[in-house]
């Protein structure tokens, strides 16, 4: 049977969901019998190609996050929002009730202990979004895996059921809202 091709990325998240994926521990080697990785932070493939499955951690905090998300949606048959930030915006969305300009001013201009303050504005830096958004506000999402992070067992069950051709369902104990 052909292996499922899987891409993953982390947008405005903390990498914790990717760590939770690795927390399946030695089951990783079992998983690798059934999947192959496209673009993920674990490989040097830099751009998402055609995939069966895309796992996205983190919400959208800048223009570049949006471009990557759109690229994943174009390439992945099934797209999954993994973890609190992808599902709701998560902790980074705490800045949504603040003025972005005031945030930048405080961190880069008025903070004591700064020698030469200045808000970074180089063309090399992608533009921050005014608000942090969850993924489903921009593209269609096929599955949501909640949790901060979703437990490794939840990710494992989700993937094994999907690999088996079933519709994944997570029962009591695997759906977390922490």
């Amino acid at each position: 049977m052909a292996k499922l091709r899987v891409a993953t990325t982390s947008l405005a998240g903390c990498f914790g969901c990717h760590m939770s994926l690795l927390d399946i521990d030695e089951r990783l080697f079992e998983l690798l019998k059934h999947i192959e990785f496209d673009r993920t932070p674990l490989t040097d493939i830099k751009k998402c190609g055609p995939c069966d499955l895309g796992l996205i951690e983190g919400g959208l905090c800048n223009a570049e996050n949006v471009e990557v998300l759109l690229d994943f949606r174009r390439n992945c048959k099934i797209l999954v929002a993994v973890g609190a930030c992808a599902v709701t915006g998560g902790l980074p969305a705490q800045r949504n009730h603040l003025d972005l300009g005031a945030c930048l001013t405080e961190v880069y201009l008025t903070e004591p202990g700064l020698a030469h303050g200045g808000i970074p504005n180089d063309p090399e830096l992608p533009l921050p979004l005014d608000k942090v958004h969850p993924l489903h506000e921009v593209v269609k999402i096929d599955y949501f895996l909640p949790g901060c992070p979703p437990p490794a067992d939840a990710i494992w069950q989700f993937l094994t059921e999907l690999i088996a051709g079933q519709t994944p369902t997570l029962g009591h104990g695997l759906i977390k809202y922490d």
Partner: protein, 492 residues
């Protein structure tokens, strides 16, 4: 892209991979291909320092973990150490401090294992310019299954130590201002004790593997991306390596001590930060040396070379061998960081073993409080280096100010120096290839940068390398496609 001064051309490496977070590198080359400027750009902003304001102080140790899912325990404990001061807990109970240390050493173990095995070993075992298709952990699992298995199980063990002390593996809740909220029960302790000797043995193997890399190709490993730097880290009162607590020690690039055993409560007496327009990551420097010369290196290489000894026997033997290697060449080498990191991983395993034999871990006296204060500073040595958390709390228990200087930020200029050095060594006058690009990334990976911590932001980007002439016209382009294959030519 085209606002270039005079006759320099721009080369961009974008994005970095097998590192945590969003980053890219740009280089400016003169007409003879000499690197005039090398910059590591950190491209996201999350603003944690701002939005923790207005939250009650006891929420902070749980909130700030979300800076980083690889080393959440660092932020958890640094924030708790700051909040210990706020609640007047000047001295934790013996049980509480040892449980926190156990959690911290569990984290050092898992984070160092992740970095060495999952992220960096493909470069080190296959070669910096090796086939991109196998240059990853899957390739390692195929060609070196036993090494991959040990890496996975070492990380698992560290994560289990964290789970038993913090309640869960990622973003746990074990430490609280003034102490911890749970001890270790006998079953948990015995479960961890059952495997610790195997873990120590595998850590020794990992140190030997790092050493072997230097033995097999000393010229490459000694010299790759080499630069000299000032250094900063915590040190125990007796000069021992201590990753959880100590005073600040700084040395200049010649090894002369600048200050020693300094109380970190007033870190700003020594450390200032600079901002540059081209990165969301700040540039800290030692005040006494000034912004231009005061930048420094933190992390495993600094800690192993700067301490007087490591307080566990196996790791201390390895430290001495590391310092003695080739007249001290590894101790200042960018890739020596890998070797030093594995020595620290061994130290963490030994420290876990010692703690597990201490019955204080089973104690019930877990929390202390004292006179309430309005300010707290918490500093520890995170896997990647010195981590500073600083908060002010008002009379309503709400945080009114926060400043975080994280490990990767301290290394900002040092990473820039490393890529400049590699660019000079390998890029000058060369055809651009995928393997060449990876050399730049190998230098950055040596620091195990956590770019999401550093900007309090995170993400990923595509990789293209553009060659632009002095007039700003694109004259060549190298693209790594979705399969990791390279192509050249301008094809817009």
């Amino acid at each position: 892209m085209t606002e270039l001064a005079t006759n320099l051309r721009r080369v961009a490496i974008d994005p970095l991979s097998r590192v945590e977070g969003h980053g890219k590198v740009t280089l400016l080359l003169d007409e003879n291909n000499h690197v005039q400027q090398a910059r590591l750009h950190i491209v996201e902003f999350r603003g944690f320092e701002k939005f923790v304001q207005g939250r009650p102080y006891w929420e902070i140790p749980v909130m700030v973990q979300r800076l980083c899912g690889i080393c959440p325990v660092s932020h958890h404990l640094a924030a708790c150490k700051a909040m210990d001061q706020v609640v007047g807990a000047d001295r934790l109970t013996s049980s509480a401090e040892k449980l926190r240390r156990l959690m911290h050493y569990g984290q050092i173990l898992q984070s160092h294992a992740l970095h060495f095995f999952h992220l960096s070993s493909p470069d080190l075992l296959f070669g910096f310019g090796s086939d991109v298709a196998k240059r990853n952990i899957v390739g390692i699992a195929t060609e070196y299954p036993e090494i991959a298995r040990q890496g996975v199980l070492l990380r698992k063990y560290g994560q289990e130590v964290i789970r038993h002390t913090a309640g869960k593996r990622i973003h746990g809740t074990g430490a609280i201002p003034g102490g911890v909220n749970k001890n270790l029960n006998k079953e948990e302790r015995d479960a961890l004790l059952a495997d610790i000797y195997q873990i120590i043995a595998w850590c020794r193997d990992a140190v030997a593997m790092a050493r072997r890399l230097f033995e097999q190709d000393p010229a490459l490993y000694n010299e790759f991306g080499r630069f000299s730097a000032n250094s900063l880290g915590l040190i125990r009162a007796d000069g021992a390596m201590d990753l959880y607590h100590g005073g600040l020690r700084a040395r200049d690039r010649d090894g002369k001590t600048l200050f020693d055993h300094e109380n970190y409560d007033e870190y700003w007496e020594h450390i200032y930060e600079d901002v540059k327009s081209w990165s969301y990551m700040k540039f800290p420097f030692l005040r006494q040396l000034g912004a231009d010369d005061g930048w420094y290196r933190v992390g495993p290489l600094t800690r192993v070379t700067q301490c007087d000894f490591i307080p566990t026997p196996l790791a201390d033997v390895e430290r001495r061998e590391f310092l003695a290697w080739d007249g001290g060449r590894a101790a200042g080498a960018t890739l020596g960081t890998h070797w030093a990191r594995m020595i620290e991983m061994l130290h963490a395993a030994e420290a876990i073993k010692e703690l597990l034999h201490d019955t204080d871990l089973l104690g019930d006296d877990l929390i202390v409080q004292g006179e309430r204060r309005g300010r707290g500073v918490g500093v520890l040595e995170a896997p990647r280096g010195t981590l500073i958390h600083h908060y002010r709390v008002d009379e309503n228990d709400l945080v009114i100010r926060a400043n975080l200087i994280v490990s990767t930020t301290h290394n900002n200029q040092a990473m820039n120096e490393a890529i400049r050095s590699v660019a000079r060594q390998y890029l000058d006058g060369q055809e651009l290839t995928e393997g060449l690009l990876n050399h730049i990334e190998v230098a950055i990976r040596a620091f195990d940068p956590c770019l999401s911590c550093a900007t309090h932001a995170l993400g990923k980007m595509p990789l293209t390398l553009n060659l632009i002439d002095a007039e700003g016209n694109e004259i060549d382009r190298l693209v790594r496609n979705g399969q990791g294959e390279c192509s050249t030519g301008i094809c817009d």
